[in-house]
């Protein structure tokens, strides 16, 4: 379980995260949505220790997050895939594996993971520059799951993809999260992605969590309706509270 307590982060005098309290249960898939510039990616970076929060705590399994231990069981799909330009596709996927096993075994696992995301072995020896946007995302996904992580983060997984490829990536993510039982946090502003990937959705607005509830209730939540600029269906969780 990942728990955030009072996470606060400012850039200069501009507060980006203003006391965020949030938790994600083991095996749960949480989608964090919000407008551009509301601090969604900053939230991820603070959890990972890539940015230092001004205040607050990140807990993992009930204890302050030990970054080294956490990273060893962690995978991430970056917005632009962030594949290493100088390595081939299979070397990218097997990057972590190659630190502790020989190349033959690491390549075999990489090919297996590439197959899991719908890419054949003919892609394995290509360079990242030779891939389309959708293929790069799939390779990034294969790299994220290469070492069977317990926690996976997805940062804007469908940004830059056409709707058909975006839904295909969503379905892949949902399938992987379900079959591995990994805890997942997805940063997105694509509501269709949210419906497919998430069990729960949290809306980040003005540095705070403006809504936090199950995906099945998202159409009835006034805070989400305001975010989407439409009238909510009756009986939503925010209306009830």
């Amino acid at each position: 379980m990942i728990t955030l307590r009072g996470l606060t982060k400012s850039f200069g005098d501009k507060p980006v995260l203003d006391g965020i309290d949030l938790s994600v249960a083991q095996g749960e898939s949480l989608c964090v949505i919000g407008q551009s510039g509301t601090g969604k990616s900053v939230l991820l970076r603070c959890i990972l220790g890539l940015a230092a929060p001004d205040a607050g705590q990140v807990l993992w399994q009930g204890a302050p997050l030990d970054r080294r231990r956490f990273m060893a069981q962690f995978g991430m799909l970056f917005q632009g895939a962030a594949l290493f330009d100088s390595l081939t596709v299979w070397q990218n996927v097997a990057f972590r594996l190659r630190q502790r096993m020989d190349d033959r075994r690491a390549r075999a696992i990489a090919l297996d993971k590439l197959a899991r995301v719908g890419l054949g072995p003919e892609v394995a020896d290509l360079m990242p520059a030779e891939l389309s946007g959708g293929m790069a995302k799939r390779v990034g996904l294969a790299r994220a799951i290469a070492d069977d992580p317990a926690v996976i983060f997805f940062d804007e997984p469908t940004t830059g993809l056409d709707p058909i490829r975006a839904r295909a990536i969503d379905a892949l993510i949902r399938g992987i999260v379900t079959e591995t039982g990994a805890t997942a946090i997805t940063i997105t502003h694509d509501m269709d992605s949210c419906r497919i990937i998430g069990d729960r959705v949290a809306l980040l607005a003005q540095g705070r969590i403006a809504h936090d509830g199950p995906v099945r209730d998202m159409d009835r939540a006034p805070a989400l309706a305001a975010f989407l600029g439409r009238v909510p269906l009756h009986g939503g969780p925010d209306a009830a509270s």
């Binding site: 990972l48 990273m71 991430m76 970056f78 330009d85």
Partner: protein, 254 residues
């Protein structure tokens, strides 16, 4: 109070920056571990082998021009015969290391800053962290060691080619006998002349690669951020080489 603040603030900022760069360099140099050998070997090719043509050509033309200048200037006080010795000493002590270092700075500091800066803005460095890999160990350590190891070799090659440039001009245009030119070059050259130039080369190699890595790792967002990182890296490397050369020359020869 205001004038003191005006002096104090930049002085404190400069001190902080020097401290941060020094710590960065120490962390980079201390990052050796399993797999570092292969990574350093790859960088030796990138930094050293691929810089040979530009360093060689620079040394050749510099040695040749130096011979012409010394012959013409020396003629004013009947000292044209010193061309071989002055070319040799000038190349190995000063021009070989400095011009070689500046050429490497132009080629290598820019390339390193562009590569690492692009990795920064495309989140590849963040990806390294999420894959439990230390970016300092993966990106900075091999480049710093490769720079320190291969620039002295480039300087040595540049010294030889530069002296050869002087010999070419001396024997084809200035009327020197080939055998006596070579004998005179060696006769006045001391081991410390060569060694000091090689030490300078190692320091300049560190300055160049450190500058590229430092600015690359701190590249701002987008293409403009990478562009600024490249410019800053080349300028800092060039100024760093000239400043380090002054300090080392003072230490070695005063």
């Amino acid at each position: 109070m205001t004038p003191i603040r005006a002096i104090g603030r930049p002085a404190l900022a400069a001190t902080r920056a020097i401290g941060a760069v020094a710590l960065f360099a120490l962390r980079g140099l201390a990052g050796l571990g399993p797999g570092s050998g292969a990574a350093i070997a790859r960088q030796l090719v990138q930094i050293g082998w691929l810089s040979l043509p530009v360093v060689g050509l620079t040394a050749l033309f510099t040695g040749a021009a130096l011979a012409l200048q010394i012959h013409s200037g020396g003629a004013r006080f009947q000292a044209s015969d010193v061309v071989p010795a002055i070319v040799a000493i000038g190349m190995v002590r000063e021009l070989g290391p400095v011009l070689g270092g500046l050429m490497v700075a132009a080629r290598v500091a820019s390339a390193i800053a562009a590569e690492i800066g692009t990795m920064r803005v495309t989140e590849q460095i963040d990806a390294l962290v999420t894959l439990s890999a230390d970016p300092m160990r993966w990106l900075v350590t091999p480049r710093l060691w490769a720079g320190m190891l291969c620039v002295p070799v480039l300087v040595a090659v540049g010294d030889i080619i530069g002296i050869m440039g002087g010999w070419l001009v001396g024997t084809t245009s200035l009327g020197f006998n080939s055998a006596s030119y070579i004998a005179n070059s060696w006769a006045y050259l001391e081991a410390w002349d060569v060694t000091s130039g090689l030490i300078k080369g190692a320091v300049f190699g560190l300055v160049v690669t450190l500058s590229g890595c430092w600015f690359g790792m701190r590249a701002g967002r987008g293409a403009a951020g990478v562009g600024r990182a490249v410019t800053n890296a080349v300028v800092a490397a060039a100024v760093g080489i000239l400043a380090a050369n002054f300090v080392l020359t003072g230490l070695f020869f005063e």
